[in-house]
Point group: C2
């Protein structure tokens, strides 16, 4: 009965959720006890993850969300009379249809088991929050910040969180990762130490620009905790020129350049290679790829100030991070000098990500962004830049992030025989529906992303519903990009009738870039011992509801 | 018996044939009645295909070949006593083991049926000349120009050509193709009018630089017969600048730039697509690709002289040929202005090909060479250059040379929906052994070419002998090339044991470029109605001799 009453609201919300073309670059929330996912103001004078609750309320009011905050404060007070109290542990044990599905918002606990299937954004998205707080997800979807959403939710309240349960864990100073930042609960974690995680398919292509909290994170070492006031970037000058030692304020003085760039880890979709034969590396699914609008100084401007110009001999620009292993070895990588000095290549020393200072996980305060090039060269927490005759001597440049023939194993591999990965090949994947899902008969919507390295634009995505026998052309969404500078992905979708009588579909996607490069059909012939460059057709098997 | 006596010579020759790394840019011949395949001196004052026999002998003497010429003159006189006479028709009817294999050299006729299988270059290469003159082939292989080769051949003499048979056919002035140049008999002709032909696999990768006479020819219209003295190239100037009208001498005044570039037709390997489903286009096998050393003026220098510079709006450089259809429509195509003006892209207005003036079939006196880009944009017999806001409006730019999804047919095709092909995707093919061949057990040598568009270097070629189950890495030959400017192919080979007990092999090759782009596994998913961009793994099925 209650659910029926709310139908019009739910349908209205469903409409609101469809408006996906405008990226939600501002993350807002209503009433939070968890301040890790609040919006961050571009300002060099704060440490990225610490904000006051007061600052939050000011912003909420400025954005016309005062009513939401006021309403929620009222609810909290009203329910203080005789609430049933729960621990976080109790809440987290309710995360499936079998146990019941509980979530929290501020101090309140809700049983949304009956609401999940009518959630306007789809059941799978609400399930991401099952057993935990709603705030990190509402921060991604501003559509929730309306009084009628809070009213709707209030009907499902079952109690409150035990305040005594809300103590901070003690910091283990012997753990080099103890000071890593808090992460968004929606991230699928592939490794905690170092932290490596990807957004789930449900969220990956919800926005053209990936919200910072769910941007895939690829760390090789503990996250350094850098003070923006004392941060310095060392740029080794050309012979006869002075080296530079740049503060953040010095960097801000260079012309600010803003570009939307997709980053992809070389190991994206490695899990599909593992299915062929074991490989060494993290089990990335299709989410080791994300897109952000980056802003910063152009590397070519900074190198010019240090006296560098294009030399006749092939030279390389080496980057060193401020993240170190216990022996003091920093993460390092390099790119060719020609790319670094070419204004058209738009290599950035980025200090902003989607209008905010870089989050700590993404290189605060400065990282390199090399459009069209593998993620491994976008060195985070950048400490040092030098121009060398040879590539970086770091492990990650010379003994990793290279591709080999399927016949090469750890006994026969010669890392010097292959070039370091720079530009990546054409790639695409299906984010909806997901493998194993049951879809309705009638019509199916297939969604995903497609991207190619080197600024090559994606010109077409073909989708097959019958395992590759026939193909349909998907509709491409996303921003128009300059020729030769297509640094960001295209999102795509296909709406097509489910062939009648079919009990299952083998859905495949494959993309074509503007050099007419295509993806290979199968994984085995591109298998390699490090499991990189996994860009075969993406395949999803689904059942059709009778 | 006779054959046994010659074994040491034959083995010596076999060694000489193996020396393939140095390109044979100079084509020489000993005694010829056919002057179409003689070497050409770079000189602006002659029509490419006419040379005097005297000039030939001078060059022979200069190269120390006087003894060969003298010997051959002697043989011709000696055999004048009582030679048996044959017509060309009789000779050409002897071109198979069943009929006997005859060839001619100058006025003499030889029956080489018994020699074919011990020919040091392999039987297949001698068979290319079966039923016709040896000169065009000896012109490609200077190793034949030695007295002992002539002595060896003399043993097989059976008579002479009837001199009365040697009359020129009358010119049919109603045929627009009547004045097309004479072509090398080794070319596999896909279409006579317009002339389109490719070198056979046996010859395609014999040299890193393809000899001019067997360079693949892709004509859309009759070959114009242009007078180098009156030839003019019109370059439309930028607003406020004068247009240029350049003679060949004017072009020679620009700095001369020389680069080795592979050209590939978009339709290369179309015949493999036809096997899937009918397509519209010439039946190119694997030979619509060749490599030459081109020299000429840089397009960027010529455009700069006409006042052009990079504009903010996307602009195009349009080329028009002097080849016309009966309605007066010229061949035309365009490339982006950014590529044309970039000195690193090395776009040429070429007037030399392998040290000689362009042959008529390849654009005499001037053609465009656009490294890394599909052959269709390398406009031949260049008459006009202009900078436009839009791509060329020619049929070949807008209604041809584009790729589509396999689902698109002639009823549904929208040519405006796909970009014109510019850079080509990674490609490779096997030239030895050939499909259907029987190979010896023991060891097999697999050879071929690999290339990628856009200056991307080929970094690896994988070869499978078992239909793709296992792979071996081939050895790459060919010149080292600058990063991002790998305009020319790599030749490759693999020597591997034939797996014991195998009666047949399914040999496959696939290449990887330095953006780690790979070739697709199969043809059907890249099939398109025009049969372009056919770059699936190349497959060759061979039998193993018991």
């Amino acid at each position: 009965m209650l659910l029926l009453l709310h139908r019009p609201v739910v349908l209205g919300l469903r409409q609101a959720f469809r408006l996906r073309s405008s990226p939600s670059r501002l993350c807002v929330q209503t009433c939070s006890t968890n301040n890790s996912f609040q919006p961050q103001h571009p300002s060099p004078n704060f440490s990225g993850d610490n904000y006051s609750r007061r600052g939050w309320k000011v912003m909420g009011t400025l954005l016309g969300l005062g009513s939401v905050l006021a309403y929620h404060d009222h609810r909290c007070r009203a329910s203080q009379e005789s609430p049933r109290m729960y621990t976080k542990e109790e809440v987290s044990s309710h995360s499936s249809p079998e146990t019941g599905i509980w979530v929290t918002l501020g101090c309140e606990v809700f049983d949304v088991t009956e609401f999940v299937n009518i959630h306007p954004g789809g059941p799978s998205k609400l399930m991401l929050a099952a057993g935990g707080p709603l705030e990190p997800f509402w921060a991604l979807y501003a559509v929730h910040n309306q009084p009628h959403v809070c009213e709707l939710l209030a009907e499902y309240k079952i109690g409150e969180l035990n305040p005594e349960d809300n103590v901070s864990p003690t910091l283990d100073i012997s753990d080099p990762y103890a000071n890593d930042p808090k992460r968004h609960p929606a991230l699928r974690v592939n490794s905690q130490r170092p932290f490596n995680a990807e957004p789930p398919p449900e969220l990956l292509t919800e926005n053209y620009v990936t919200p910072n909290p769910i941007f895939f994170t690829r760390n090789h070492l503990p996250v350094p905790d850098l003070d923006p006031d004392t941060y310095r970037l060392h740029v080794v000058g050309a012979p006869g020129h002075q080296s530079l030692c740049l503060s953040l304020d010095d960097l801000y003085k260079f012309s600010k350049h803003e570009i939307t760039v997709t980053l992809q880890c070389a190991g994206n979709r490695r899990s599909e290679m593992t299915q062929i034969k074991e490989v060494k590396g993290l089990e990335w699914r299709i989410g080791a790829i994300s897109t952000a609008c980056w802003a910063g100084a152009r590397l070519c401007d900074v190198l010019a100030q240090a006296g560098h110009q294009l030399s006749d001999t092939e030279a390389h620009v080496c980057f060193e991070g401020l993240d170190c292993d216990p022996t003091g070895t920093a993460y390092g990588a390099s790119i060719p000098l020609a790319r670094a000095l070419n204004p058209e290549a738009e290599v950035l020393l980025a200090y902003e990500m989607n209008g905010q200072p870089l989050p700590r996980d993404h290189g605060f305060p400065v990282r390199v962004v090399v459009p069209g090039v593998v993620g491994a060269r976008h060195v985070k927490w950048l400490g040092r830049i030098s121009v060398e005759a040879e590539e970086s001597h770091s492990h990650w440049q010379r003994r990793d992030y290279k591709g080999f023939s399927p016949s090469v194993d750890w006994d026969t591999v010669d890392f010097d025989s292959a070039p370091s990965i720079q530009e990546l090949p054409v790639q695409s994947a299906i984010t909806e529906p997901q493998d194993g899902e049951t879809i309705e008969s009638g019509e199916v919507t297939v969604k995903g992303y497609a991207w190619s390295g080197g600024g090559r634009a994606v010109i077409r995505v073909d989708v097959s519903l019958d395992g590759g026998l026939t193909w349909q052309v998907a509709e491409l969404d996303g921003e128009e990009q300059s020729p030769r500078k297509a640094w960001a992905w295209r999102l795509w979708q296909l709406q097509a009738p489910v062939p009648s009588g079919k009990k299952e579909l083998n859905i495949i996607c494959k993309a074509v870039d503007d050099s007419y490069n295509v993806q290979p059909d199968t994984v085995a012939p591109i298998w390699n011992l490090r499991g990189v460059l996994s860009n075969a057709w993406h395949r999803v098997h689904v059942h059709v509801a009778p």
